[in-house]
């Protein structure tokens, strides 16, 4: 096992619906899917976003795409309707995820 910065192994794109954020996470190398699946759990993502106090984090698995979809509830300060922040859509938050480090088993 070694510490890996997520940005070195996956791509991510954020989207919103109201106060709910989705983070599409795509393994750059499809071979790393199983290792990323073990390392990047819903609990891990909840911990990365702890300052935004997610009410719930669900991970959906898409093995045929070597991708995951994380859905985080109530993390956007009410969403673009009511947030006082600059990024009410949470569009920048894919990079909050990508900056995190996870323990990952070597793929080879």
């Amino acid at each position: 096992m070694s510490k890996v910065r997520l940005r070195d192994v996956v791509n991510a794109r954020a989207g919103d619906k109201g106060n709910r954020l989705n983070l599409a996470v795509v393994c750059r190398d499809p071979q790393s899917y199983a290792a990323v699946a073990r390392a990047l759990t819903a609990e891990m993502v909840a911990a990365i976003f702890v300052s935004r106090r997610p009410a719930k984090v669900v991970r959906y698995d898409l093995p045929k795409l070597a991708a995951f979809n994380f859905v985080l509830d109530d993390v956007l300060e009410g969403g673009v309707n009511s947030s006082l922040g600059l990024d009410g859509h949470g569009k920048s938050l894919s990079f909050l995820l990508l900056d995190a480090e996870v323990e990952i088993a070597a793929t080879k």
Partner: protein
């Protein structure tokens, strides 16, 4: 495989590039088969803003960029038989159609057959209380008195019907974005409205096209990690779809950008929640078995969409007035910029604590902590030794007067705050809030009408 249908995705939001359609039209005019150009220009709040504009001027209320989207490509589309489908009608599709007709007249091209799709507007159909009873995921409407806009997401059926009637151009208001592609596909291939897998494939094609360059290298680049060649001139997507629902995503020759497994998967999952159940009016799209395959340079085949019967209810977006957002900014640079900026924030906080104790506001330090942090402006994070700090204060209120005190206090930092404060900007923006409702199908009454002879 037989015939293929070609669809270009020329816009992904109201503010998208108005010159993106050019290379798509060029490529489509050489394609061998039915060809369509789609414009998705209607985000959640865009429609409400258009509704307000229509109340001020009954001849407006469509996408203000309509002229700039249509003018450069109308003639070529009409001569090459490229049919245009767009939701740029916003709150007033009929007025948009008349405007396009006038543009055609000005350009001296043959008068196009323009279909208008209406029936998405729920104002006058359901009361505020009836909408509130159908709200999901919130209680915004429980206390709302007046609705700015309430619109159902219509599906692809009225679009297909308009094309069946021979429309060159279909102008809609609120339809689900992907229907702008599914409508043309059902029209061209005569898919049945219960052929769920095909409707799902058409919906997936639309989903891949509906955000424009987001599938062709836009919103993707991270230099050194995810490079995109020629981003400044990125091509917009061109989809080829066969009668069985096979999809190939590409882009016009000679354009920048990139189309590969990585760009396509990011867009497949964009704004998706449960990937096994993406609900649109015509079908439930299941992405579980979708696969992507790079079949050539900037060409990706997407297969395996499955469909389930259409949902019982339709989604509607309801917008209400949400007062104003007030924002004011000031900069500090050079030695101890952090110390001076912190002091400025404290000065504003101390003064408002006694003079406007009810005014809730937030402070961000742009360049230090303004995006990821969410401590309500407490600025608890360590600021480091940044030498260029821009403070941003924000507050909301029912009326501009409610936030004026904050903006005035930030401006007063010029003479009475810490040394070297510079570059104050302040503005007040009206706000709309939106709620989602689930509406029974009986309230959806899509109507198609044709505008032919010049008015």
């Amino acid at each position: 495989m037989g015939q293929r249908v070609y669809i270009g995705g020329a816009a992904g939001f109201a503010g998208d590039r108005t010159d993106a359609a050019g290379p798509l039209v060029e490529a489509l005019s050489k394609a061998d088969g039915p060809r369509f150009l789609m414009f998705e220009t209607l985000a959640e709040r865009t429609l409400a803003l258009s509704q307000l504009e229509r109340r001020r001027d009954p001849a407006r209320g469509y996408n203000p960029a309509l002229e700039r989207f249509i003018t450069p490509i109308l003639k070529r589309c009409l001569t090459a038989n490229i049919r245009i489908v767009g939701n740029f009608g916003a709150a007033n599709p009929k007025a948009a159609a008349l405007r396009i007709q006038a543009i055609a007249h000005e350009q001296g091209v043959r008068p196009p057959r323009i279909a208008v799709v209406e029936g998405d507007d729920l104002t006058g159909v359901l009361s505020v209380q009836e909408l509130a009873a159908r709200e999901t995921g919130g209680v915004l409407l429980r206390t709302a008195r007046e609705i700015v806009a309430a619109n159902l997401y219509l599906g692809a059926q009225p679009i297909a019907e308009a094309l069946d009637q021979g429309a060159d151009i279909v102008v809609t208001g609120r339809v689900v974005d992907s229907a702008l592609a599914l409508g043309p596909l059902v029209h061209a291939f005569h898919w049945r409205w219960d052929d769920w897998d095909k409707l799902a494939a058409g919906t997936l094609a639309g989903h891949l096209l509906e955000c424009g360059a987001q599938v062709t290298g836009g919103y993707f680049a991270d230099p050194g990690v995810k490079d995109v060649p020629g981003l400044a001139e990125a091509g917009y997507p061109l989809a080829e779809i066969d009668a069985n629902g096979g999809i190939v995503i590409g882009k016009p020759a000679g354009t920048g950008g990139r189309v590969d497994r990585q760009t396509v998967i990011e867009q497949i999952l964009y704004e998706i929640h449960d990937p096994a159940a993406y609900l649109v009016p015509d079908v439930v799209l299941d992405l579980s078995d979708v696969t992507v395959e790079e079949t050539g340079r900037d060409r990706v085949r997407v297969s395996g969409a499955r469909g389930h019967p259409a949902p019982e209810t339709l989604k509607a977006t309801v917008c209400v007035d949400a007062g104003v957002l007030g924002e004011a900014e000031i900069s500090y640079a050079g030695p101890n910029a952090v110390g001076r900026a912190r002091l400025a924030a404290e000065v504003v906080r101390d003064r408002l604590a006694t003079r406007a104790p009810d005014l809730q506001f937030r402070v961000d330090a742009i360049g230090v902590a303004s995006i990821f942090g969410n401590d309500g402006g407490a600025l608890q994070r360590p600021w480091g030794d940044a030498s260029d700090v821009r403070l941003r204060f924000s507050a909301r209120g029912a009326k501009p007067e409610d936030v004026r005190m904050l903006l005035d206090e930030v401006e007063a930092l010029y003479c009475a705050g810490p040394a070297g404060g510079a570059g104050v900007r302040r503005h007040v923006t009206p706000r709309l809030a939106s709620a989602s409702c689930l509406i029974e199908r009986k309230f959806a009454r899509p109507r198609v009408s044709m505008i032919e002879a010049p008015a």
